[in-house]
């Protein structure tokens, strides 16, 4: 049976430290931002947002929400719009792959993504002199003028597959394939694995009563779920829910 890789992120454990963002950038050869870069022009495949309950001081409550490509399973918004097949869902893994070498930079996929999880290379990639020696050989740097996004550290899946193939195995050892954000999270807030394997922790957690997915009513079946025991955090899932929650609170 093909795999369906997915994630569950526990928002009650996330401290917003930023390890995932940085580890992701190191792993995936994402260049440092050039001078003048902003949170709207930078590239952070994995970005931690701060969400609050909308109340003023001192009733404000916040939560940190890591957001990356949700690897939508159905009607994947970025796949159908790409004019030249630079994006696709891998039927073997469920991972939404983006091929920067095929991309012409029309940014239609970025407009189409409800999670704003796609990033454009507004600048040429530049590392300080000598630092290109520290790049990860398993991921190719992108050029200016193309879109890119999280692919669950696909380079690591390659490594795991290669190891399996060298041993003559068809299947990889799940322990060999852990994305950088999962590996670097100090509080182990992120769990990764095969959603098709009912015994996997990720499959169990995604069915937890604390679990929810953002914008699930769009019908894109994202493969990244979130956990929280706080009702207001769960109500962030979509606007109708948030409105209902607010009305309920007002009575």
């Amino acid at each position: 049976m093909p795999a369906r890789y997915g994630m569950v992120i526990d928002l009650d454990r996330c401290t917003g430290c930023g390890n995932c963002t940085v580890a992701c950038a190191v792993e995936n050869n994402i260049p440092p931002g050039p001078p003048g870069v902003t949170d709207r022009t930078g590239i952070t495949w994995m970005r931690v947002y701060e969400a609050d309950n909308g109340e003023g001081f001192p009733e404000t409550q916040s939560a940190f929400v890591p957001v990356m490509c949700m690897q939508c399973e159905e009607h994947t918004p970025c796949v159908s719009v790409c004019p030249q097949n630079a994006v696709e869902v891998d039927p073997e893994t469920g991972i939404v792959g983006q091929i920067p070498e095929r991309c012409l930079g029309c940014r239609y996929c970025m407009a189409a993504c409800p999670y704003h999880a796609r990033y454009f290379n507004w600048w040429d990639p530049k590392w300080p002199e000598g630092m290109e020696k520290t790049l990860n050989p398993d991921v190719s740097p992108r050029m200016r003028g193309v879109a890119e996004k999280c692919n669950f550290c696909h380079g690591r899946l390659h490594t795991a597959r290669e190891k399996a193939a060298a041993a003559g195995n068809a299947a990889i050892d799940p322990a060999d394939y852990v994305p950088a954000c999962v590996e670097s999270c100090p509080t182990q807030a992120i769990v990764f694995g095969d959603l098709n394997d009912p015994a996997s922790e990720v499959a169990k957690l995604s069915r937890d009563e604390r679990a929810f997915r953002f914008l699930s009513r769009l019908g894109t079946e994202p493969k990244v779920s979130y956990l929280s025991s706080r009702a207001w955090v769960r109500s962030l899932a979509d606007r109708v829910l948030a409105r209902d929650q607010k009305e309920e609170a007002r009575g």
Binding site: R107, P114, F120, W123, V146, S216, R217, R239, L241
Partner: protein
């Protein structure tokens, strides 16, 4: 000085005056090309677009001028296929305007994409499900059709008419016109629709997403209709503009009134469908996707007034003006109505591009604003200047308005 190039029997201004008219535009074109070159050489960081405002001024401009350029295909369709002979006086002008709008749009697109040298991948590895593929194919093909349609207009120049073979060629081309008009109409129907579909298919943007009819979202059909309303109105406005600039009568009122009536009909049909579409969207599509529709209009700059302006002032009002014989036959009202139609279509394209992207989808994400950089404005200006120049040259050296001579004599 250039008198041997000017069509026989037509009055044109002196060459120095013409030069004085085109030089400022050429200057603007040069400035715009500089801005565009910066974007191509330095990269799109020269623009104020960003990951959230992935589309900006340029896409808005493209959508708008292509809708305006619809006059070319629609007039050709009415004239050559439906035999509305009343439109013959404006057909040449319509072809030139169409050519300007479409080639302008493609020039801007080439600056807008991050990797123009790879743009041909769309033809080599097309994703047939993408509306943008449909747009690209149709735009390219239709631009070719427009270029062919432009050739007979070009061959009407005095110098070309001196070569006998050219005359034969032009005659042969004329026989082709109905076929070209047919092909052009078919292609145009599709890409006008696909441009609407571009936004309507975006599942992840409930503000723009619409239910599908067949394989196309409703915006597909709304765009076709609205473009058919805009095209004739654009012809009215440009013709009147040229007339006032040259202080000459170029087209008899009958042709323009016919255009106005067609525009009015199309607009009325469009408005009826849009009203239904909007109601379905507010009550079913958007809330079904988790977005209460009224929330879209809670932002200060994008209140419901925009919706009322688009449907009321820029929709129902001009439709009534154009459908009533009384106002239609009044030159001032006709022009006003045509102007309102164009404003309405431009506003509709603005709402679909800019407002769609400004509205956040994630609940904890802020509302964003976007102001184009000077490089974007310059590139935009370059296209406008290019259009003015091409039209000015065409007007001066080609007999764009077949009625010009008789109207001048009368």
């Amino acid at each position: 000085m250039d008198s041997q190039w000017i069509p026989r029997g037509l009055q044109r201004t002196s060459f120095p005056r013409f030069l004085a008219w085109i030089l400022p535009w050429a200057g603007l074109l040069a400035w715009g090309l500089f801005g565009a070159a910066l974007c191509l050489i330095e990269g799109l960081n020269q623009t104020n677009m960003d990951n959230r405002f992935a589309f900006g001024l340029w896409i808005y401009l493209d959508l708008t001028i292509i809708a305006f350029g619809a006059g070319a295909f629609f007039t050709g369709f009415l004239l050559y296929l439906l035999r509305r002979e009343a439109l013959r006086p404006v057909i040449n002008s319509a072809v030139v305007l169409g050519l300007i709008c479409y080639s302008g749009a493609i020039i801007v697109l080439m600056v807008d994409v991050g990797q123009p040298l790879r743009a041909w991948f769309t033809f080599w590895h097309p994703n047939t499900h993408s509306m943008l593929t449909e747009v690209t194919f149709c735009l390219t093909c239709y631009l070719t059709v427009l270029l062919i349609e432009y050739v007979p207009v070009l061959l009407k120049n005095r110098q070309f008419r001196r070569i006998p073979k050219m005359l034969v060629f032009e005659f042969e081309l004329h026989k082709l016109m109905p076929i070209l008009a047919g092909v052009g109409a078919f292609l145009s129907f599709f890409h006008q629709g696909s441009l609407g579909g571009l936004y309507g298919v975006m599942q992840g943007r409930p503000f723009a997403f619409r239910e599908a009819i067949g394989i196309w979202p409703t915006t597909f059909f709304l765009f076709i209709l609205s473009a058919m309303a805009a095209g004739p109105s654009f012809l009215i406005v440009t013709t009147r503009l040229v007339e006032s600039l040259t202080k000459k009568r170029l087209v008899d009122d009958r042709a323009l009134r016919t255009l106005g009536r067609i525009s009015g009909f199309m607009l009325a049909g469009y408005l009826a469908l849009k009203a239904i579409d909007t109601l379905v969207w507010i009550n079913a599509t958007s809330p079904g996707a988790g977005f209460p529709a009224y929330e879209y209009y809670e932002r200060a700059s994008f209140g419901t007034w925009i919706l009322f302006l688009e449907i009321g002032v820029f929709g129902v009002l001009p439709a009534l003006l154009l459908l009533s014989r009384h106002t239609r036959e009044h030159r001032g009202w006709l022009l006003t109505a045509a102007g309102l139609v164009l404003s309405g279509i431009a506003l509709n394209r603005f709402v679909l591009t800019i407002q769609t992207l400004a509205l956040p989808t994630l609940t904890f994400d802020p509302f964003l604003s976007y102001v184009p950089s000077w490089q974007e404005v310059a590139t935009f200006t370059a296209v406008v200047a290019y259009g003015v120049l091409l039209y000015s040259l065409s007007y001066r050296y080609l007999p764009l308005f077949p009625q010009e001579r008789e109207l001048a004599q009368s």
